[in-house]
Symmetry: C2
Subunit: 527 residues, 2 copies
């Protein structure tokens, strides 16, 4: 029997809170004790990755307390319930089924007579077949020429995740001769976004993927009109250049405006939709369906690992619990995501949505106000770039910001250069290793301006190379981490009521139905 | 006589702190009182911009207290001292002269017999002449063909600022037929960064701008070697494709490896160098020297506005003071920068460096530990994209995050579409107006999950269009805001000792001179 309780009502949380300040990270990571931690505080992940938490302020006792919290909060039981199709998204009274989009998940969730796993898989197969026809030229432009570019039109989860995934594998795909179409993305309602993309592509050889679950997203429909204008001005038939990704009940579903339509449903939240056809159509077109299947396989393996009850063998759950400890017990306000991989340049922006939109809540899943902090601010840029930017504050600022590093032994593009006795890849990896230690241990100095207090915790996910499988595992790791944190905080991680008010007010502005300050701002902005 | 004192030793700060919670923002912004605030709480800026702070939790009394703080902390006197060439960067015993790079600043700072303003201007003129020769074809590739692309190689301040400025004006320049060369940027030591850029350009028609003040930045020299390899492999003479931007004392200054060299010096911090030749060479090449001169003009005008002692007429100083009030009195941990302009997509990343590297400090300018918080975490993405991402947490999360909006009445690219009775630009502007009000006033609802507490403060900088002058004014506004905040916190905003330890440890890793945990991480990463 699952019971949903607020974090601060759990006995195990009280015990955890009593351990505050127990671990002196700088001391723990010094000397051979530090080396021992690096060897021991590691958990294998799917996709050939490993989660290393040696530089987190935990020890055996804290880990035991976190295990007790995981057990008392029934984290894996709640995950099982989610996988089994329970109404976990209580606010919207919806199931949460994005794990089923990986396709590999055993078991069936049947809703209104439909096996949802089979449904999601069928849409991905449809996307795969469509992509193969585009690649072969069977589906081509009016002149019978192959498409060379795919442009995703979507915003939020229809943009950030798929875009981050595309950028993550673009160089890998080039190097492995599997980049079939270049992908571009239009998201912002700012007309300069669409204009910029349209000016940079050859529309006659471009295929547009319109992504909106409801079929009513203002930005996306506006940008669709923008693109249709451009196609028309180029003398092209827009319906031969566009496909839709939407729900079966949306106005786009059966429109003749599209070459094809691919479906998701209300059980796939936008920020969790990269493995559904929201990501599947554009990524299958860009890289080929086989690459997308490998990406799903990595995610599915990570989903399986997340079922493990032992936190030391369940990196997503452990990462979540350490995050709760840092946020609620230690009081840290933000988390930085720092991939030492240029390919992951937009992965932090995806995680920013995933995490902040899921757990930036002030009421629990029953709609009752809660009296502890929930989701932190998430931000980040790739290393080593960030080192030359905001790391100053991370090292010597007045707040402690926990850090999430990611690093790979090999680069993707297969080009490198040896300077001063080391390759660029070695320099990149040396920097991330050095940073972990600089943050953890610091350095004394007679000049306080050159002293580093240390005690700044981090973890690192290490892989051999950023492959499709590794990327899928990385994506799933963070999805499941966010889910487990939501369970701990007893919030509904799958709705987003906080985005509604702005939409309503914007409509009033456009209808000139305003007064007071809103009218004054509207006038200042010449609306 | 200037005296440098810690914030919490100022009598005016104690008075300010006593006003905590005085303004109920939701009430203040409701009804006609809200409209009155929008009209009154505004200050003109350079470049045709205006700073509107109606939606900040201030009133006449708080503003008076902020004015008293500005006066007691001698903010404008300290700015005057900086402009006059005093050693404001105490840690490194350096002057701070980036305002002189705008060229328009009156007065002279003479160092070792050199008029620094004349020196910076001479370098910009050199850059302008060089750019004109490239544009005319007088300077061309070995085949006598014009260069079409300029690639900046730099990291940190040599990358983020110039890149953000380029992206900010790229569409404007296209629309105004003044895009002379397309610009690209290589920064990360990750070899996939350089590989990706090199694969996407025509190296035979590319000019590379190597930017490193010291001439020793590891990432930049490594990427230079990477690029030289690529040029050599293409049968090209690298020295005919590269210029250097560096200091006169650097090893690059007189090298025959470059077509030309342009100089800055130690008085221009990297994050403050966009208006020096660090930004000047690439931006003059990309847009033409006339556009760069207009950008400088906007910055210079904003610098002049920042001398004003009345905070109501000095937006940079007022913005700084409100930020100190929010950070130190109200205890808010972070600030989000939210430009409703796709052209400003990387402006938040530049501000992240500018702000966090300048004021992420725990010791005062005399090297003494301080006992109050300094620089906050800075993050952001363009609107409306962010609305579909992390705004959930901003609206309904447990922390209050102050917001800095930016909006323009007109777009840049001159393309737009009318859908459902409004243009995209109107939709964009309607959204930012709506968001300000949603954050400030919130909305009651019987369902707490759909209720918005409001009381979430924001300001907005509004302009007619993002022109070169407006961009210059925007850049200077934030540079001067950060400077004034540094004065309030009594920190040195112009050094960055926090980046040193990581560099030292990375060198040890590459030299295999490690033990303990550092060695263990190095082995995990196959270094």
């Amino acid at each position: 029997m699952i019971s949903w309780k607020n974090l601060n009502t759990l006995a195990s949380y009280e015990k955890l809170a009593a351990l505050k300040g127990r671990v002196n990270l700088a001391e723990a990571m010094s000397g051979e004790g530090g080396a021992k931690r690096v060897a021991e505080y590691a958990a294998p992940m799917a996709g050939g990755l490993a989660y290393n938490y040696a530089a987190k302020a935990v020890d055996g006792e804290v880990l035991d307390a976190l295990q007790a919290l995981a057990d008392e909060a029934q984290l894996t039981e709640k995950y099982d319930a989610l996988l089994g199709g329970e109404i976990i998204n209580t606010g919207e009274k919806r199931r949460v089924l994005h794990q089923l989009t990986r396709g590999q998940q055993a078991g069936a969730v049947v809703v209104d007579g439909v096996d949802k796993r089979a449904f999601y898989v069928s849409q991905q197969q449809k996307a795969a077949e469509f992509a193969r026809k585009v690649h072969s030229g069977e589906i081509a432009n009016a002149a019978g020429e192959k498409f060379t570019t795919v442009v995703q039109i979507g915003i939020g989860g229809s943009d950030l995740g798929p875009r981050a995934m595309y950028l993550a594998l673009e160089q890998w795909a080039k190097q492995n001769n599997t980049l079939k179409l270049e992908a571009r993305f239009i998201s912002n309602v700012d007309p300069d976004d669409a204009a910029s993309v349209l000016k940079s592509i050859d529309v006659a050889h471009s295929l547009f993927v319109l992504v909106s679950k409801s079929g009513t997203t203002l930005e996306t429909l506006t940008n669709e009109a923008f693109v249709k204008d451009a196609l028309k001005n180029a003398g092209l038939d827009a319906s031969k250049h566009m496909v839709a990704v939407t729900s079966e009940t949306s106005p786009l579903a059966s429109s003749s405006d599209y070459l094809a339509a691919f479906f998701m449903d209300d059980f796939i939240g936008g920020r969790y939709s990269s493995t559904s056809c929201v990501g599947g159509v554009v990524l299958s077109l860009a890289f080929g369906p086989e690459v997308f299947a490998r990406f799903l396989e990595g995610a599915a393996q990570a989903d399986a690992t997340a079922k493990e009850k032992d936190i030391r063998k369940n990196p997503a759950m452990l990462d979540a619990l350490i995050g709760v400890y840092e946020r609620n017990v230690l009081g840290y306000p933000a988390t930085a995501v720092l991939p030492y991989s240029q390919a992951l340049s937009r992965f932090p922006a995806h995680l920013q949505q995933l995490d902040m939109e899921s757990n930036g809540k002030s009421v629990n899943r029953f709609g009752e106000p809660i009296d502890y902090v929930t989701g932190p601010v998430i931000f980040g840029e790739p290393g080593t770039n960030g080192q030359h930017s905001f790391y100053q504050l991370l090292h010597q600022g007045t707040d402690i910001i926990p850090l999430q590093f990611v690093g790979f032994r090999k680069n993707q593009a297969g080009m490198d250069v040896d300077i001063q006795g080391s390759t660029s890849q070695q320099k990149l990896c040396a920097n991330v290793a050095a940073q972990i230690m600089a943050f953890a241990c610091g350095k004394a100095d007679d000049n306080p301006n050159k002293a580093f207090a240390g005690g700044r915790p981090s973890s690192i996910i290490i892989g051999d190379q950023l492959t499709p499988e590794a990327l899928g595992a990385l994506l799933s790791h963070f999805e499941n981490k966010v889910m487990f944190q939501g369970f701990c905080w007893n919030v509904n991680s799958f709705d987003q009521e906080g985005v509604q008010l702005g939409k309503v007010l914007a409509k009033r502005v456009l209808a000139h139905d305003t007064d007071g300050a809103l009218k004054a701002y509207s006038e200042l902005l010449d609306i």
